[in-house]
């Protein structure tokens, strides 16, 4: 079920000349949970978005389950199904109910029938603790609930990899826990996860490895137990000093 991601020498230069990613290579094994941290503008979200080609690259490539994402032609849509994505702003479809949000892609993209999709959607909703909200519209849910629906929506396509782009950054503090619990649950089941986050506690507890990015480069990569004990005076030390206070 799970698959790996291989980021190979990816560079990205925006039209305005800003170098967002500078020759980044990173290999994520199947079942691994990788957290990416770093100051804003360090390129961590851009890196994550190159994994399913929401962001194009200037050089390099990303292999998803061994297949090239950035040279893919028509099969790009099929490849993208292997990587579920969760956004900072949830991006639920406001004109559809929670259940329709979850079933839309399986129905329209994969051509599955409602009889197979609906039970799956319902069990996903149960799993994120929103089993009774299937007929609600996104605007009737709290931020935390919306984000959990967004996770269920991504999981409905039965992806091999999950990409989380600051999933708790837009949430009220009391909503963060519920979303992180769902993510922990997912990690414990062996899902490959790339998580861009500011939640150091989550990174420390769940991640197999933590990546520190700065200025479009990977500055440091380590297991959590080593990551959070950096050499004093290093950039990572300064960064952790700021976020952990």
């Amino acid at each position: 079920m799970s698959a790996g991601v291989e980021i190979r020498n990816v560079s990205k230069q925006f039209g305005n000349g800003v170098q967002a990613l500078d020759d980044v290579s990173l290999s994520v094994a199947a079942g691994e949970v990788l957290c990416i941290v770093g100051p804003s503008g360090s390129g961590k979200s851009t890196l994550l978005r190159t994994v399913n080609r929401l962001e194009t690259v200037t050089a390099g490539d990303v292999l998803l389950d061994g297949e090239s994402i950035h040279t893919a032609g028509r099969q790009l849509n099929a490849l993208r199904q292997k990587a579920g994505m969760v956004f900072q702003q949830f991006n639920l479809f406001p004109h559809l109910t929670v259940l329709d949000n979850i079933t839309l892609a399986p129905l329209k993209v994969r051509g599955e029938s409602m009889t197979t999709v609906k039970p799956r959607a319902q069990s996903l909703l149960d799993r994120v603790g929103l089993g009774d909200r299937g007929n609600s519209f996104p605007s009737q849910l709290s931020g935390g609930q919306q984000q959990r629906v967004a996770i269920a929506r991504a999981l409905a396509m039965q992806p091999d990899v999950m990409l989380f782009d600051e999933p708790t950054s837009a949430l009220d503090p009391e909503m963060v826990g519920g979303v992180l619990d769902v993510m922990k649950d997912l990690a414990s089941e062996g899902m490959t996860m790339l998580v861009v986050t500011h939640e150091m506690g989550f990174a420390r507890a769940v991640a197999d490895r933590v990546v520190f990015m700065e200025s479009g480069r990977i500055e440091h990569i380590a297991e959590p137990e080593n990551f959070f004990e950096p050499a004093s005076g290093s950039r990572l030390d300064l960064f952790l000093g700021q976020v952990l206070r």
Binding site: N52, L54, N77, A78, R80, Q81, A83, G84, M85, F87, Q89, N91, L92, F93, P94, H95, T97, L104, A105, K108, V109, R110, F137, P138, S139, Q140, A150, R153, A154, M157, L163
Partner: protein, 313 residues
């Protein structure tokens, strides 16, 4: 509360003053108002002549007139409910002779004009919406051919007067493709309105946050699927009010097709003026008929919007 009534009073007074000014202005040109002539051109109660379509002998029984054909005895024609019978039993009538009259309501030329105007507007709208949708999608497309074609269409149409476009459609396109007046008129209006709808559609699509497209694409949807299932349903809801406004504009713009001799409300007005010599009354009436149409529509639209706003999930 008192001051509110005061200002309502001011409003009424200003309107009254305007009406008086119009009346006074017409007095200075020695104009005789003949409002009584106008209603006949909207609906009239009048006698209609009924004519025989056969050549034959008349038989009358209980006020019912039967014509028995002389060339073919099996052919008969029956006239009932006549208000006035102009033939007698045993008369020999020819094809086309008046048998009697029946009075009834007849729809006047202004009402017909109104119907034609509505017909033109609805037909043009039916074609303008798909044209506008296609051009609007072209405007936001990343394909340079589609984008530039759509932009050229919109610029061309919005940069030239509708009246000139109608002439071009009638005299050039209409001649080349041998279109009827009505087809040429509908085509000109549809192409014209389509350009404005394209801009409405483009604005609607662009008002949807980028994250919606990204979420749809990240689920594996193609661009077309994302547009159809995610972006357009949301965009359309937002474009309904300006779209409805465009329909009202279309009704007003349709008055210009009277220049290619389509008897819409405006052309009917001109014809009625020619036969009544009452231009003031007729044009005020025509304006009021347009106003009834557009005001009725905007009322409907406002109700519709309220309902949409309430159901906005």
């Amino acid at each position: 509360m008192n001051s509110r009534w005061f200002w309502h009073g001011v409003y009424a007074l200003v309107l009254l003053a305007l009406a008086l000014a119009i009346y006074a202005a017409s007095r200075t040109v020695d104009y005789t108002w003949r409002w009584d002539r106008v209603p006949d051109y909207i609906v009239a109660y009048e006698d209609v002549d009924l004519r025989s379509t056969l050549t034959g002998i008349v038989e009358i029984s209980d006020g019912q007139v039967d014509i028995i054909g002389t060339q073919d005895a099996a052919a008969t024609e029956t006239f009932g409910d006549l208000d006035e019978v102009l033939v007698e039993d045993g008369d020999y009538v020819f094809d086309g002779d008046v048998i009697g009259t029946r009075s009834g309501w007849r729809i006047g030329p202004l009402t017909w004009g109104l119907v034609v105007t509505l017909q033109l507007s609805i037909l043009a709208l039916l074609f303008a919406v798909p044209i506008g949708l296609l051009a609007g999608l072209g405007r936001v497309s990343t394909n340079p051919a589609a984008r530039n074609l759509a932009a050229t269409y919109v610029e061309l149409i919005r940069g030239t007067p509708l009246l000139v476009q109608i002439f071009i459609f009638y005299f050039f396109v209409g001649t080349v493709l041998s279109l009827s007046r009505m087809t040429a008129g509908v085509a000109a209006l549809a192409v014209f309105t389509g350009a404005y709808i394209a801009e409405i559609v483009r604005a609607g699509i662009e008002s949807i946050p980028k994250g919606q497209m990204e979420a749809a694409r990240s689920l594996g949807m193609s661009y077309g699927q994302a547009m159809r299932h995610v972006i357009l349903p949301q965009a359309m809801r937002r474009t309904l009010p300006p779209m409805a406004g465009q329909l009202i504009n279309l009704i007003k713009d349709s008055s210009l097709v009277s220049v290619i001799a389509i008897t819409d409300l405006t052309k009917a007005g001109r014809e009625v003026v020619n036969s009544t010599f009452s231009p003031f009354e007729v044009w005020f009436t025509v304006a009021a008929m347009y106003l009834v149409l557009t005001a009725g529509l905007s009322l409907l639209i406002r109700r519709f919007e309220l309902r949409l706003a309430r159901s906005d999930g």
